[in-house]
Symmetry: C2
Subunit: 483 residues, 2 copies
């Protein structure tokens, strides 16, 4: 006994001694009323100072795990755990269909697997090498010195006030008329979208969206009992004629649109089309959830206003924003800007779900933004990603026999191969050569897109980019020969 | 024009100039093709350096908001926002019953209001004056220097690995047999409970729990279509005979129990009762959600093992843990320890809801725990709260004519007045004297408890405590005279 104590370096030793003894007591290795070694003995046995053992014993006594008899020593308390009758059940039989669906649609579990060392075009998250750690640290230290206690205590469901104020100004600068609108901070886009969708009545279970569309959004819609109906994309956004036809033929509960750097096609909806789309939805009285995805990652071209700005004083557009895809995905902060009546309900839903988003994260993000670091970071990120984007475009054009390629910026390109080529066949071949990408079919509402694929380039080095796209091109050619 | 520019001190001026101009452009104060002042002119007008204006103009041009004609100057782009037809809808007609319920049951909106300066016994959150800011800062700096990039990028839905490992050991030290179990990190108790409840099949919509019980839990149960059935409490926990009767008469989907420092009664379920309760639920094959609420806030007495430890190798107990009520509520981190099959489903639900809990929060909390700060903090907090607890108990006994008082520790006491006294009447009188507390009826599953109240004392000073409880006592006496 007492020979297997192996303390680690950077944690107080008395805590480690305490935990070690606790484990022996709760596991029954040390029995009730068993005498413990004297503090002197144990310090020799464990090679720690006697004071360390004294502190550990005192803590264990305070926690009621041991007791001391004057002049006799320390003993294990009787209160150790007695395991009682319990039973085993099959939890898979206890869970409901929604939980089952969530598991089945979980791409991280059933999607493309890849091993370390492979060239992966599956990610569209920012490159962590670009992260601006020193300014982030600065922002943390600034904010904690201003109001540390506030950051660590409960906050408001709607959000951390300075951040809310900042984002309202930020949206106003994009041209949004804030009259009658309000903001709610969320744990990223995902929570925001899920909350909105869960709050809307399901009179008409159909939701109109682009086809293809964001996979996670489609998953959340389905988990909430809605069926996405996708409308084909053109080079400048959703196909207007097909949209008009769908709206005239069927009732929709709401629309879900990604007007900028659309995921997965990378298309930016043209200003003219934005107007036309808004007019059309207004005519059919269908509200819009606008996904502000990567709106900031413009590499060239003119300023394009979000739909919610174009809607002026109208209240039918709900805007979902997030800096996750550009700044720091690890801190989960997004926001909903919408009609204040709607926000009022969403605030209560937020409170019932997660009380509020981490005040610490919100406050540090606010300070980072306030300090003006975002603008500087964005400049750097834009120039790095622009270069990567251009390299990716060149490589795809040169190496992949493609039918169509879209992507006006952002962190990914979308490729359409010849109709008779299956992207999953290409992927199989690529996988054997150590290259992976995302097959496009997962983004389609109608099981189409078997001949499409998405290439995320943000986390791929130049060298890997050339090598990887070349290999994809070779696999495509091989598949073409085999057809 | 240009006379209302008011820069703040601690934000780069060029960004403020840029945003100022942006606002004038998006609001249409500066019109398309209008010539902007030269950089020299504007620098004079705004009282900023010329370089500042040059940088601001360059940024605006990059964003496509202005354009430059060589030798002529800078002009506003045509791409400014054209507001198009949109429409207004009544969002209150669009939302569903669940959202409406969430709003109606939102205590922050419809609960007790109180003004600044009042003595408030409504909070059971920790006192922020106790927060251990310097060690928290240290933990942040330690962790960010070890793996800053990782903290800021996407993590895993299940949680940040070092924290998961730490918590598994932590639970093992409480005597839990980890065989076949797994852990999932959540955004506090609230998200964890909501996820579990949303995942369970609703064959039997009834859930058995203590009466009174945690208000938020009751709200979440109802929002998910479950009906809580409360069983009366005795001095050592839930009434065993009544529990037995209820279990024999009705089918229950699961149980929700708060065995330690029960909210709102503050009762700790005795070790003997824990065994009996577990055996009873095993007999009737009803799984248990165990709320580990404030388990650490023991001021005296012997060690009491959580139900999940007493259940040994059984898999019918789901344990929900959180340090929020003791450490830092502002960073929303909690955990679920349960059967690994169940955790597997919950992981997918977590991914579909919030992707994952803030990696930053998890990592800093991990480092704080690892550094051994929690133990030290807990000692300090326990001694402060113990003193407050004892003072509160003394005051209540002295000043309030009560029938029963419970609370074995924790941060609150629960008081039962004579049956014919209405706590809300007492509250009304107290409010006029500047004192507020939580009327107990909100915690009851059966609309009972009109004569009960909860006093949270963690954030009340000694002086306020004596004064406040005295005033409550006077109000109770007044109400007694009036009956």
């Amino acid at each position: 006994m007492f020979t297997d104590f192996r303390p680690v370096d950077d944690r107080p030793v008395y805590i480690q001694v305490k935990e070690y003894l606790k484990r022996m007591i709760t596991k029954g290795i040390l029995q009730a009323d068993q005498k413990l070694p004297s503090t002197r003995e144990l310090s020799t046995l464990l090679h720690v100072s006697r004071n360390t053992v004294i502190t550990a014993y005192a803590d264990l006594e305070e926690e009621g795990l041991i007791y001391t008899v004057k002049g006799k020593g320390s003993f294990v308390s009787r209160s150790k755990i007695v395991t009682t009758s319990s039973y085993r059940l099959d939890w898979r039989q206890k869970i409901n269909d929604k939980a089952r669906m969530a598991e089945e649609m979980d791409l991280m579990k059933h999607g493309i697997r890849w091993e370390k060392g492979m060239i992966s075009f599956t990610s569209i998250a920012p490159d962590e090498k670009l992260f601006d750690l020193s300014n982030f640290k600065r922002a943390f230290l600034d904010r904690i010195s201003i109001e540390g206690e506030i950051l660590l205590n409960y906050g408001y469901a709607k959000g951390y006030k300075p951040l809310m104020e900042y984002l309202l100004r930020y949206m106003e600068n994009k041209g949004v008329d804030l009259t009658g609108k309000d903001i709610l901070i969320t744990n990223g886009f995902t929570e925001g979208f899920d909350m909105i969708v869960s709050a809307l009545s399901r009179e008409n279970a159909s939701v109109i969206c682009e086809n293809p569309t964001h996979h996670t959004a489609m998953k959340i819609l389905r988990l909430n009992g809605f069926e996405p109906v996708g409308i084909e994309m053109e080079q400048d956004g959703i196909h207007l004629e097909k949209l008009r036809r769908a709206l005239s033929e069927q009732l929709f509960c709401f629309a879900y649109l990604i007007p900028s750097y659309h995921n997965p096609t990378g298309i930016v909806m043209s200003p003219e089309k934005r107007m036309a789309v808004l007019n059309l939805f207004a005519k059919y009285q269908v509200p819009i959830i606008e996904d502000g995805f990567n709106e900031e990652l413009r590499y060239s071209g003119s300023h394009v206003a979000p739909l919610i700005a174009c809607a002026g004083k109208g209240n039918s557009v709900i805007y979902l924003g997030s800096f996750s895809k550009i700044l720091f995905p690890g801190i989960r902060v997004g926001w909903i800007l919408a009609d204040k009546d709607l926000i009022d309900y969403l605030e209560s839903i937020k409170r019932a779900r997660t009380i509020h988003t981490s005040t610490l994260d919100q406050a540090v993000l606010y300070q980072y933004l306030h300090n003006g670091n975002f603008e500087k970071y964005l400049k750097k990120a834009r120039s790095v990603y622009k270069r990567k984007y251009e390299l990716a475009v060149r490589c795809c054009k040169e190496f992949i026999p493609l039918k169509r390629m879209t992507g006006d910026g952002g962190l990914h390109l979308f490729i359409e191969l010849e109709e008779n080529i299956h992207a999953r066949e290409v992927l199989k071949d690529c996988y054997s050569k150590g290259v992976v990408f995302t097959p496009g079919d997962i983004f389609f509402t109608d099981q189409g897109g078997h001949h499409t694929l998405r290439l995320g380039f943000s986390r791929v080095s130049d060298e890997e980019m050339v090598k990887g796209i070349k290999l994809i091109g070779e696999s495509v050619k091989k598949c073409m020969r085999e057809v």
